[in-house]
C-alpha cells in the first residue's frame, strides 16, 4: 500500500505535479496494481540471471566517420522558446533554474 507521502515522493522524482485529488486517486490505483504485481515475489528465482534485452548484441559501434546532421534552425524548429545565442546562432530558451525543488 502506497501512502500519500510515498506518492508525493515518487511524483517529485518523476517531475510530475499532482493535485490533492490526484495524489489520493494515484495512491489507490497504484496500490491496487502493485498488489497484483507483488505475486511474482513468491517465485523461487534464486540464481536466475536477469534479462534486460532478448537479443544478444552488445557494444554495437559504427565507423567513426563524419556524417551530415540537422541544421540548427531545423533542429530548433519545434522549440517552444528558441533564443539567439553566440556564437552558434540559436539555442533552447529555459526559465532560470532558480531553486531546485527536486532531490
Amino acid at each position: 500500500m502506497l501512502d500519500r507521502a510515498q506518492v508525493l515522493h515518487v511524483a517529485r522524482l518523476a517531475r510530475l505535479r499532482l493535485s490533492d485529488d490526484d495524489v489520493d486517486r494515484m495512491a489507490g490505483e497504484l496500490s491496487n496494481v502493485l498488489d497484483h504485481i507483488e505475486k511474482i515475489g513468491e517465485l523461487d528465482l534464486a540464481g536466475v540471471p536477469p534479462t534486460s534485452h532478448v537479443i544478444d548484441v552488445a557494444g554495437v559501434a559504427r565507423a567513426d566517420e563524419p556524417q551530415g546532421c540537422l541544421a540548427p534552425e531545423v533542429a530548433l524548429a519545434n522549440a517552444p522558446e528558441p533564443v539567439a545565442v553566440q556564437p552558434s546562432g540559436l539555442g533552447f530558451g529555459v526559465p532560470s533554474p532558480g531553486q531546485d525543488s527536486g532531490e
Partner: protein, 475 residues
Amino acid sequence: MSELLELTAAAAAERVRARELDARELFDVYRERAAADELNAFVWVADDRPANGPAGDTPLGGVPVAVKDLFCTEGVPSQAGSRILEGYRPPYTATVVKKLTGAGAPLLGKTNQDEFAMGSSNENSGYGPVLNPWDRSRVPGGSSGGSAAAVAAGLAPWAIGTDTGGSIRQPAALCGIVGLKPTYGACSRYGMIAFASSLDQAGPLTRDVTDAALLFSHMLGRDDCDSTSLEYPGDIELPSREDLQGVRIGVPEELIGSESGAEPGVRKLFDATLKLAENLGALVEPCRLPHAPHALSAYYLIAPAEASANLARYDGVRYGLRVAGDTDLVTMYERTRAEGFGDEVKRRIMLGTYALSSGYYDAYYGTAQKVRTKIFEDFREAFERFDVIATPTSPWTAFELGSKTADPLAMYLNDFCTVPMSLAGIPAVSIPCGLSGGLPVGFQLAGPAFSEARLLDAAYALERAIDFDGSAARA
C-alpha cells in the same frame, strides 16, 4: 468503387503493376474515404497524392499505407496520441516508413492511438477515442486502434502499428483483421516515438495474411540508426501453404485456462479453430509455459520502468508543450508534464519511477527481469517440442466504450495472452477466427525468433480454412 474496396492490398498492387488499375485512382479513393472517417481512426490525412505518383511500377504498387501516429514523418504531425506533442512536426522520417514509401506505398495518413502506445482500448488518446467499425459503441482495442479500425473499415488498404505488449495483435483481433508482431530486432525502431525500448516493435495490420507478409517483407532489416536491429535471416515470401501436415501446435494450459478470464464465446471459437488445424493435418497437443501467468506482472514493471526513463524527454524544452509563466525551471517541467500527459501515462510513469527507485529496485524491477528470463526459457523448452504455440489473442471481444476505464488493472488483463511473447521477443500473429455475438475473435500463433515465414505460412493455411468474412465492417 466498391469493387476496388474488396481488393486486398496485395491484389490491388498486382493489378496496378499489370496496368489494370491506376495507382492514382486507388490513392484518391482511399484518400477520400480516410478524409470522411467517422471512426476518429485518422488524426491526419494526406492532402494530395505524392508528387509524380504514386509509382505503380514498384514492389508495393503504389498502394497507400496508413501509419500509426507515433512514427515520425518529416513535416507531418507526429504526436503519438499525446497533447504534450501537439503540433510536433519532426525533421526526419522513421526508417520503416521510409522503407515502405521507397518500396511504393505512399503515406495515406496518420492513425489515432493510445497516448504513447499505453492502452488496450484507444480511450487513452489525447485526441479522442476510436470507434470499432463492427459496433460503434465499442472500442477498437489498442494501442494501434486507429490503424486496426482504418483497415477493418476499408478506410486504408493496409497499415502499420507498433506492439509493446499486444498493441498490434489485440486491436487486430478486436477489429477482425490480421496483425503481426515481428521478432524483436526485425524492424528498425528509428523514428518510432519510444515507449519501452526493449519491447517496442513495428509491424503490419492488414486485411489478410498475404498482405501482412508483403508489407512486413518491406519493413524488416538492419538499420545503422538502430543498434538493436538485426540482419533478417532468410526471406519472407508470400505464403502459399494449404495444409498443416506435420505442424506441431502447442496449446499452453496456463494461457487458456480460467486464469485468462477468456469469455465462453472466445474459448469456443479458439477450440473450433484448433479442430480446423487438426483437419489440416496439424498435431495439436497441450504444452506448458509455467511462468506465463506471471508475465503480466513482469511486463507491468519492465514496460513502465523503461517508459518512465523514455518519457523524461518531455520537459517543455526542445519540442511540444510548455507551460511556463513566471516560474523556475523545475516548476516549468512539473507543470508542463502535469498538463501534457494523460492519466494513464502519468500512472505508468509513477509506477515505473517507483519500481526503479532506491530501496525498491531489486524487489520490483530486478525480480521482473528474472521472471523475464524464466519466460524466455519456458518458450525455448516449448519450441523443442512444438513448431508454433496457439492461444486466443484477447480474452474478450470488443468491449463497450467506458466499461473498463475506471479500473486500470482490469484493462491490463487484456494483455494476458500477448505479453509473454513480447517479453521473450518472439514473433506472433493474430488472425480473425470467427464472430462471437457479432464481434470478431482473434486467434494467436507464436513461433521462435525469426520464424515469421513459417508462422505466416501456418496462419495462411488456417485463414483459408476459417474463411472469415470481414466485409460487414466495410459497409
